[in-house]
């Protein structure tokens, strides 16, 4: 048994050896940990396109007003190119951690990005901290992640509290304009995303005087949501605040339609409500829906780079950038910029460069004020936007500085 284990580990090591050898040269390796198989494999498939688009931007010369885009490779490291190493965590925190340790110790990645699931980000970032390798949470939005005092954790995008806060400020603004918004309905799935999101929303609703007319926690990937929708229909809140992934979003909208229920307004926590698959399936039922987002294609009118990057992404993925893919793409750009400035692949130096990041919003594809990290590694200036889905397109309706139209309210009015 002992001999077998040794033999086995030898095989694995030589496997790993050839792996690393093939990637030698002047390449800087970045680990990318996403769910590539399992129920959320679609997220990983999209992420791959987004991340590879970002690599294209960094490694080749593009006329884009983004850091590291103009010249080929990283100027700070003699034109070195970046290369991504993908790993699959299947939504399991243990597997995510094992993959992080593999990427760090075997592939010698200089930094890691991930991971969609906040639970996986929690273990991956802990391992990165222990090995002194920066971790960028691209699309994990649980607020708890940046509150653990980690030195090597960075999140350029907003977390759930910021997203929900924007939604309630938007409702406050509408209320001031005389719209009737007294009751809200919470509808959220029972994993970490839905729980985090609804906890914040419940608190904000209480603080700001909105009555929670219905508060439904449902099991993700249910065969049916009829009974749940019936409860929403009976309560008929002025605004429905759903936090759902794609499959449940499709089912929710179909079921509402089947039960003849047209919600007054939907103000969604992105996820399923920003996925192309949802709009392909039930887009006609979502007309007038508003979703929070980290990204707005409308910005292309003001910033040419947004449109160009979107075209590059579309050529690969056959869909527009959305809430998730824009954040994934941006995380590589943020990281590449930091490595470029650090002029080193040393974890501590890249960390210092990341901590010193101060990129104005105009030099990103995001509708943010800027990218600047707090000591906790959170970018507090990642202003969320609210997009309304009208006539098959997203229109930015909030905040004022990014909005290009007044919201249609109520959506089914």
């Amino acid at each position: 048994m002992n001999r077998r284990e040794v033999l086995l580990s030898g095989v694995a090591l030589s496997l790993a050896g050839t792996h690393a050898f093939a990637q030698a040269g002047k390449e800087i390796l970045i680990g990318c940990i996403w769910p590539l198989t399992g129920p959320t494999a679609q997220i990983g498939a999209d992420a791959r396109h987004a991340l590879e688009t970002a690599v294209d931007i960094v490694n080749n010369s593009h006329d884009l007003d983004l850091p590291t885009a103009k010249n080929a490779g990283l100027a700070g490291l003699g034109g070195a190119k970046i290369k991504l190493v993908f790993a699959d965590h299947q939504g399991d925190p243990q597997k995510g951690r094992a993959e992080a340790e593999r990427l760090i110790t075997q592939d010698k990645v200089v930094a890691i990005c991930g991971a969609f699931h906040s639970s996986v980000s929690a273990t991956v970032s802990a391992s990165c901290e222990r090995y002194g390798v920066p971790y960028i949470a691209a699309d994990s939005s649980s607020p708890s992640l940046h509150r653990r005092g980690l030195k090597f954790f960075f999140r350029p995008a907003a977390h759930d509290e910021m997203f929900s806060l924007a939604m309630f400020e938007f409702m406050d603004a509408l209320k001031k304009k005389g719209k009737k918004i007294d009751t809200v309905g919470l509808f959220f799935e029972d994993t970490i995303f839905g729980t985090d999101s609804s906890n914040v929303q419940r608190k904000l609703a209480a603080d700001r005087g909105y009555k929670v007319a219905v508060d439904i926690k449902y099991r993700a990937s249910s065969p049916s949501l009829t009974a749940e929708v019936q409860q929403i229909k009976s309560a008929n809140p002025d605004v429905l605040l759903p936090s759902s992934y794609t499959t449940d979003t499709i089912l929710l909208m179909k079921t509402m339609d089947e039960l003849g229920y047209k919600p007054n307004n939907i103000l969604a926590q992105a996820a399923g409500f920003s996925d192309k698959a949802t709009f392909d399936a039930v887009g006609d039922k979502l007309n007038g829906m508003i979703s929070r987002a980290s990204f707005s294609l409308d910005l292309a009118a003001k910033r040419p780079s947004v449109g160009k990057v979107n075209e590059m992404f579309k050529a690969r993925a056959n869909r527009d950038l959305n809430d998730n893919t824009s954040r994934q793409l941006t995380c590589i750009l943020v990281l590449a910029d930091a490595i470029d400035r650090a002029k080193s692949t040393d974890g501590e130096k890249i960390r210092a460069a990341l901590a010193a990041t101060d990129t104005p919003g105009e030099k990103t594809i995001m509708p943010w004020k800027r990218i600047k990290f707090t000591p906790e590694g959170q970018n507090d200036d990642a202003d969320p936007v609210l997009l309304q889905y009208l006539g098959g397109k997203f229109v930015t309706v909030y905040p004022a500085q990014a909005a290009i139209a007044e919201p249609k309210w109520p959506m089914n009015g």
């Binding site: 048994m1 002992n2 077998r4 284990e5 040794v6 086995l8 580990s9 694995a12 090591l13 496997l15 790993a16 792996h19 590539l36 198989t37 494999a41 990983g44 498939a45 791959r48 190493v85 993908f86 790993a87 699959d88 299947q90 939504g91 399991d92 925190p93 243990q94 597997k95 951690r97 094992a98 993959e99 340790e101 593999r102 760090i104 110790t105 075997q106 639970s119 929690a122 273990t123 802990a126 901290e129 222990r130 090995y131 649980s142 708890s144 653990r148 005092g149 029972d190 994993t191 970490i192 839905g194 729980t195 985090d196 926690k217 099991r219």
Partner: protein, 336 residues
């Protein structure tokens, strides 16, 4: 040769065989203990720790599933209970994980006794599906239990390396020794029970239903004991897993896949045999980890094809388990 001397010589042959097995086992454990000196790669250590852990878990499962023939597909419940008991006691009350391991094990054993009472009346697939359903109820309850963190789970705080808190930042060797220790203990427990009167009864039940009828109540009690012991060690494994990963949530410790991962090694290696679970784990866990790591990165699903295909082929071509292929004598000896 008289009757009594024949009995005496077979008795001494039996004792000699037992001793031989025990010595073999200690040699194997000692050799495994040397592995951390040879393997320094963190990733490989991680794979080996999981292999030992699942060898231990599958060994525990084997007591109930293999020897008693009660195919439980719900051991994730006990695994999760161990993980939660250890995490809650440590994170919320500052009690050392060692205490949590013990507490989790005892709670799991009690629950196994409470569930065993109605469940052992169920036969075959009815029993298996009932265990799946019970574990699924547990998963749903933990998903909705706010005190235990519900879906947010429980994060272990960052602390300096220590055996007292079972936290080691980069060093994997301590976890390796713990997992090895757990495996050795479950092996020894199995070894001593199998040749006790309980072991004889269980085999009698598996071989002949009539024998089971005549033994009646006694069998029932011995099965209950097997369920409790099996649940105890499964929970200890769960508590260790929580300390090892330093983060748990319902899906990452109580998911159905853990139930399967505890049964599969025993089935593939050789059900109801002393070394079957270890052999099964030694093949299954590295296979799952390596296919994911070196093929899964492509996201094509091919890793699942290989993993699933292999499980299928092995269980079809080697119904007695891989062990029977490697060394036919081992199984006979173990169950003789």
């Amino acid at each position: 040769m008289t009757q009594s001397s024949a009995a005496a010589s077979s008795m001494s042959a039996f004792v000699a065989s037992r001793r031989r097995q025990l010595i073999t086992a200690f040699v194997v454990f000692a050799l495994i203990a040397l592995v951390p000196r040879l393997v320094t790669d963190v990733y490989m250590m991680n794979v080996l720790i999981l292999t030992l852990l699942f060898a231990a878990l599958s060994q525990s499962w084997n007591l109930l599933g293999g020897y008693c023939g009660q195919v439980s597909l719900g051991h994730a419940l006990y695994f999760g209970i161990g993980a939660y008991a250890t995490s809650i006691l440590y994170v919320k009350f500052g009690i050392t994980p060692w205490g949590g391991l013990l507490a989790g094990g005892i709670i799991a054993a009690l629950i196994a006794l409470a569930l065993g009472y109605p469940c052992f009346r169920l036969k075959g697939h009815y029993f298996s599906i009932a265990t799946i359903v019970i574990a699924e109820i547990g998963l749903l309850l933990f998903h909705n239990w706010d005190y235990a963190g519900a879906a947010l789970g429980i994060q272990w705080p960052f602390t300096p390396d220590s055996w007292w808190t079972l936290q080691f930042a980069r060093d994997k060797a301590p976890y390796f020794y713990f997992a090895l220790g757990l495996f050795a203990v479950t092996w020894l427990v199995t070894f001593s029970i199998v040749e006790s009167k309980w072991g004889y009864w269980w085999r009698a039940v598996k071989d002949s239903a009539d024998a089971a009828e005549s033994l009646g109540v006694t069998i029932f009690h011995s099965k209950m004991a097997a369920a409790a012991i099996s649940a105890f060690f499964t929970a200890v494994g769960g508590g260790f897993y929580a300390a090892f990963v330093s983060y748990i949530d319902p899906d990452s410790v109580m998911h159905f896949r853990f139930s399967l991962l505890m049964a599969l090694p025993a089935v593939l290696g050789g059900v109801g045999s002393l070394w079957g679970p270890a052999i099964g784990a030694l093949i299954l866990i590295p296979l799952a980890e390596l296919t994911r790591s070196y093929l899964g990165g492509a996201g094509s699903g091919l890793d699942l094809v290989i993993y699933g295909g292999l499980i299928m082929i092995v269980s079809l071509t080697r119904p007695e388990g891989i062990l029977s292929m490697i060394k036919p004598a081992v199984k006979r000896e173990a169950t003789a």
